[in-house]
């Protein structure tokens, strides 16, 4: 018979060659001749096998077991296909119920409003590694966002595995999400809902928000690349999707119309009365103002800030606890924040080299809501005599902490329909936002969020941060022992014991 002269291996060799061809293709796809050769040989072997074993195959296929087997295989394939389709459909149109303690998976109505209003697609690229603190939160948040809007596409990139992509985007730290839509691009550094929704708002608008820096009083310059300048800061803000400009109010009769935020960054010479009047007018009309003032400067803005009930404290803040370990007592490393949109989910401390504190007078600022954003520790004070190297708290002269050194102000009264609402942020230090310090994670987060808060229509985003559920349970010795007896000893012991009894009973039978 034919079969004995060509034993089985021909078929096996054919199958082996076919597999080898595929492997070769996956390893060296450029060597097409090799792949073709292998596959050609495989084809020849298999045809040979088919021809020589035709009768046998015919017999085999006529057998009942083959038919049943094929039938079974077909059924399995169909079943898998049906399940795949069902799973695909439910994954696409899933319904969720959020029973988590903090409603972590439920987006605020404001966010839904923003998502519904998206007019074009937004592509988000998140640079994070699995070991980063934000990884899980980004994943879960964007999961919820994607569920809510088909216009959002999210891609996760591990900058270590895909350094080229990270380089193209100029990524210097992880846990950054970049939103791109049309010509706009915005970056955020935290998976907070406030941040993501704010970024969606910014990126889906064609008009860029304009930040205008005041000039003419020795402020930190946007062109200055030295440690004290703002060139790097300007770059950071441009990456965030802002338009940056400058204004000299000595020449202009008013703050330009298209100004979204007016920033006074570390003035060192006196601001004139006329200028102050123009700034007041700007705020009254619903303008947004950020004032960064260092200690011991002759900026003469006290009466301007007094308009809103604020006073700049005397002296320099000294902190024994919240400071740089190797720095001196005035290099504050502030980590006490009030829960506010800006500081919510701010995880890194903010470095303020040489800062002064702020005081709010209720009587003067009775129309304003004052929120101290950042405070020094209880072991701090405002040192009024910094001449000597050794500083110590002096009850007569110095002011005992904790003291506020950054604050946000909004009017208590809601503004009329369609009128913009004023907002102010005052910080008793300007160096924290300069080239030398802006790359500190805490500093860039704090600064960017402050700007973000000032530019957003806050009537739209009034996302209140969710309080994390804090219900610690520290068992006392008695409780601990009860838990030990019940959970670790009693339950398993009972089970083992009943097993033993059953076994003994069966032995006796």
């Amino acid at each position: 018979m034919e079969m004995n002269r060509h034993p089985m291996p021909v078929g096996a060799v054919g199958a082996g060659l076919a597999a080898a061809g595929l492997i070769a293709y996956s390893l060296v796809p450029e060597k097409l001749w090799l792949v073709t050769l292998l596959e050609g040989a495989a084809l020849a072997c298999l045809i040979w096998f088919l021809v020589t074993h035709f009768d046998r195959l015919k017999k085999l296929s006529a057998q009942r077991s083959t038919r049943m087997g094929a039938n079974s295989a077909l059924m399995v394939a169909l079943f898998v296909a049906i399940l795949a389709i069902v799973n695909f459909l439910t994954a696409r149109h899933s319904v969720r119920w959020d029973f988590s303690e903090n409603q972590n998976y439920t987006l605020a109505p404001e966010t839904h409003r923003v998502l519904r209003g998206l007019t074009r697609d937004v592509a988000v690229t998140v640079f994070t590694r699995e070991k980063d603190p934000g990884y899980q939160a980004y994943k879960e948040r964007f999961d919820s966002y994607r569920q809510a809007s088909p216009k959002l596409s999210v891609q996760f990139i591990d900058p270590e595995r895909q350094p080229k992509v990270a380089q193209n985007y100029g990524i210097t730290r992880t846990d950054i999400a970049i939103f791109e839509s049309g010509p706009q691009s915005v970056r955020i550094t935290s998976p907070a809902e406030v941040e993501i929704t704010g970024a969606l708002l910014r990126v889906s608008r064609d008009s860029k928000k304009r930040l205008v820096f005041l000039e003419g009083h020795g402020e930190r310059s946007l062109e200055d690349k030295d440690r004290g300048g703002l060139a790097m800061t300007k770059e950071v803000l441009q990456k965030q999707g802002y338009d940056i400009g400058t204004v000299t109010l000595l020449r202009e009769s008013a703050v330009p119309e298209n100004t979204d935020v007016l920033i006074i960054a570390g003035p060192r010479r006196a601001v004139t009365q006329e200028e102050k009047e123009r700034i007041r007018t700007y705020v009254d009309k619903g303008g947004h103002l950020m004032v960064l003032v260092d200690p011991d400067t002759q900026a003469d803005v006290d009466d301007l800030l007094g308009t809103w009930g604020l006073e700049l404290g005397r002296g320099v803040l000294v902190d024994l606890q919240d400071r740089l370990a190797q720095g001196d007592l005035t290099a504050l490393l502030v980590r006490t924040f009030t829960d506010h949109e800006i500081t919510h989910e701010l995880t890194a401390a903010v470095l303020f080299p040489l800062a002064r504190h702020l005081i709010f007078h209720e009587d003067k600022g009775k129309d304003w809501d004052y929120v101290p954003l950042a405070r020094t520790s209880p072991r701090s004070w405002a040192e009024t005599d910094i001449k000597g190297r050794v500083v110590s708290y002096n009850e007569k002269e110095d002011i005992q902490g904790p003291l506020a050194l950054a604050a946000a102000l909004t009017p208590k009264q809601a503004s009329e329909e369609g009128k913009p609402r004023p907002a102010l942020i005052i910080v008793g230090n300007s160096a924290f936002a300069s080239n030398g310090f802006i790359n500190f994670p805490g500093n860039s987060d704090f600064f960017q969020r402050s700007i973000g808060w000032l530019t957003e229509e806050r009537d739209l985003i009034s996302l209140t941060p969710k309080d994390p559920a804090v219900r610690p349970f520290v068992p006392n010795p008695l409780q601990e022992r009860i838990l030990l007896y019940v959970q670790v000893i009693f339950l398993p012991a009972m089970t083992f014991l009943s097993g033993l009894l059953v076994w003994r009973k069966r032995r006796r039978l």
């Binding site: 077991s65 898998v80 029973f99 996760f156 994390p468 219900r471 019940v486 398993p492 089970t495 097993g499």
Partner: protein
Amino acid sequence: MAPVQALIAKELRSSFVSPIVYVVGGVFLLTFGFLAYLYIVFTGAQAIQLMQMQGGMAQINLNDLVFRNLFASMRFVLLLILPILTMRLLAEERKLRTFEFLMTAPIRTTDIIVGKFMSVYLVFLGMLLVTTLVPLTLALFSDFDWYPILTGYLGLALLGGFFLAVGLFASSITENQIVAAFTSFGLLLMCWLLAGLGALLGDTPAGNVVSYLSFMEHFDHLVRGLVDTKDLVYYISGTVLMLFLAHRIVDSSRWK
């Protein structure tokens, strides 16, 4: 009494007279209780640390620190012990040559599979029920949110069902119980490792499909208190698929 019920009753009787169920149940309860105890005791110390580190940001509660970790650890415990429960289901029948009786009895293959599966699933649910004493005891001393715990139990019940179905399938292809246990163990480990492969492939269509196939992320959602229809469908279809495969294998012995 329908054939399925009769089969379930017979299976339950035979499992409660064999020491295996008691040993597996005992080990399961011991690991559950011991892990819970350790997490609770550590949490006390951890909470104080977390408060210092993250201030008001910390999520300090029993749900996040104890139960989430506990349920996540139980995945691995189930992966180790459930194959022991399922290994004898069909393999033993083949070994003792009682398989032929089953095949010739006036009972459909579907009844056999469903009966075998339900009997072992009921045993497993019984074990889970006993573990609820842990949160109940804890509730005497502290307060926490019950919803995520209930969804976590739902997750364990679904995951256990899937594991048991895989075990039943593994038990259907061999007459050696050890081989059956290791086969199901291997299959579950592969399914687990798919999550790693999915993470490696990243956010690509292939990566998403592979991640979806692993039971990891579907379980995590439930443990964190999120009930999503896609996770429910995943577990149910995985369980049904495995039972169907076991059904095909058992059925094939009729015509082989």
